[in-house]
Amino acid sequence: MSVRAQAKISDGLLKRVDRPVVIAFACIVALLLVGSLYSRSFLSPEYLLQQLKVASFLGVIATGTMIVILLGQIDLSVPWVVAVGGMMSTAATGWGPAGEALAIPFGIACGVALGLVNGFGVAYLRIPSMIITLAVNAVAQGLMVVHTGGFSPQDSSSPAMRTLATGDLVFGLPNALIVWAVVGAGTIFLLNRTTFGRAVYGIGNRERAAYLSGIDTQRIVLIAFAIAGGLSAFGGVLLAGYASKAAQAMGDAYLLPAIASVVLGGASILGGRGSYFGTIAGVILITLLQSILSVVQMPEAGRQIIYGVVIIAMLLLYGRESRTR
């Protein structure tokens, strides 16, 4: 093989793998190395598997966030859609054997319903996504407050949910991680190998152009928001299984990390640009950062500051916009 051909191959490889994704994965390795200076256990397989398991909850939620961000929109309804997913699935568990069997799909269906409201508002009523998802978040919160206060539903999760989130059935791999892998593989297929995925990227780049090329952009946006709602709620179902109960504020800690991990993975917040591998890297990065900061017993204040500074520093490395000219 000539030198030229080799250069061509490596050039092709470089083009296929985004720079942000490479930097994000490099940062993960760097974080682990820094952590291992503090304690050897940061490099142990048990610790790494545990981190991947914790990361998979954020991973499932961030998947939905990413699809919406690729459209050039944003979903601020994540916190309470996660809570709806968790709380409605545990409530269904309390309705007898049939409810228990349907708990997981029911929780996800509630999320899809809220996602459809978001999508209808954005696609057909043309309301800015930032404000309609905010309103849906408020409505979901209101519904859950009435639901808990008025009907005092069951809040402990079903055995199936617990197994899904905490068990390990195959080769000692955590089930949650397998769930994330399945969701991730599905998303990669959806985004790269289907017309729906191509349309999502197209709309993110320029909705008008996508519409003029014959894409039913409104339907695509509606479906994308419904998927995002379903995935947020599924994250809630998993979280409820992990903690073996659902609580009202369970989703609050997931909105900003989900957005941050998508953006750290190199996706543009303006839409149309980004790969799922980046999101995987971002999710692992955020989870590791949070874990290391808590292992070294950093107080909450320091954790917040470092968290913010790291996000800004990383974005300054590769997330900059081009200059106006």
Binding site: I131, V145, V263, I305, G308
Partner: protein, 326 residues
């Protein structure tokens, strides 16, 4: 005549917000068990002014087609700082107030520099700086507490001539001293131009970077005023994550209700202030109708949803489907 029509169409959104607020507040105060009294107005005003100032902070940035998701964190940070330094004698308290406002300016300047020089998207950049500001607030006040210079707090949360709430007078003063001169200055006009089209503004020689920077700095200033006022109301400082989050989200809602376009380039802080007061009144309406407090969050959410759907009525005026995708 035509002049008036122009002024009217320019300020239609603001007027609409004002009318909605007046109607809602009339319903609220006539159904209040204590009736329309100075006390009722004072309590409502103190609560409303907090959100109004945060909404004003949000407006400065939204007009330039940006967004500031750190207003809530700046609000909490300055609240915590004020509970340390706005104490002691009148002189030290005055110095403390200056320190708090300067801190707000500095926070806004950091946001501005990261967005302009760092060229990061405002939405992500301010999420991150918000985390930093909140961390600093936790350093200042790991547990709620602190104190504030009493006479000043009582003066600003009390009543002027025992009728008019002092907080409203202060808010009006802020509008007259900061917003109106800003709106009429070259920089203020530049901010609107940048919000309408940054490219066009840049090509017409508008000082784009300066306009954006001023918007973020003024946003920090307004947020710090809100933080200061919260200290006067509660007599203490608290690094509450819930407070930061809800005030950020409510500020966006208030801005939209007040007729400021999230796409930038239109709307005014006065509209946002009425939007904020209106949003607060919605929350209080349930209380006077004696409904179960359990239903309050749902009611508030549904009203918000309905209000923004009405705002989307533009949809029915569209003649060409392509206009939708602007």
């Amino acid at each position: 005549m035509n002049d008036w029509r122009y002024v009217f169409s320019q300020n239609r959104a603001t007027l609409l917000a004002f009318v909605f607020f007046v109607v809602m507040f009339a319903i609220y105060s006539t159904n209040h068990p204590a009736g329309f009294s100075a006390n009722v107005v004072q309590t409502a005003a103190n609560k409303g002014v907090l959100l109004a100032l945060v909404a004003m902070a949000q407006t400065f940035v939204v007009i330039t087609a940006g967004i500031d998701l750190s207003v809530g964190a700046m609000f909490v940070l300055t609240n915590c700082l004020a509970s340390w330094i706005v104490v002691g004698t009148a002189w030290t308290a005055a110095l403390g107030v200056a320190g708090v406002l300067l801190t707000g300016l500095a926070c806004g300047a950091v946001n501005g520099l990261i967005v302009i020089v760092g060229r990061l998207q405002p939405i992500v950049a301010t999420i991150a700086t918000g985390a930093v500001f909140f961390g600093l607030a936790l350093v200042l006040r790991p547990t709620p507490g602190g104190d504030v210079y009493g006479p000043l707090a009582d003066a600003l949360t009390g009543r002027v001539f025992s009728v008019l709430p002092a907080s409203l007078v202060a808010l009006a003063a802020v509008v007259v001293i900061i917003w109106i001169p800003y709106r009429r200055s070259v920089i203020g006009r530049a901010a609107y131009a940048v919000g309408s089209s940054e490219q066009a503004a840049f090509m017409s020689g508008v000082p784009v970077d300066l306009a954006k920077f001023c918007a973020y700095v003024l946003s920090g200033l307004a947020a710090s005023m809100a933080g200061l006022f919260l200290t006067f109301v509660t007599y203490s400082g608290e690094a509450s994550a819930a407070n930061g989050g809800t005030y950020t989200l409510y500020s966006i809602a208030a801005v939209v209700l007040g007729g400021v376009s999230l796409y930038g380039g239109s709307g005014s802080a006065i509209g946002a202030i009425f939007g904020a007061l209106m949003f607060r009144t919605i929350g209080d309406l349930l209380f006077v109708f004696n409904l179960d407090p359990l239903w309050q969050p749902l009611f508030q959410g549904l009203v918000l949803l309905a209000a923004i759907c009405v705002g989307a009525a533009r949809l029915f005026q569209v003649r060409n489907r392509l206009e939708l995708f602007e």
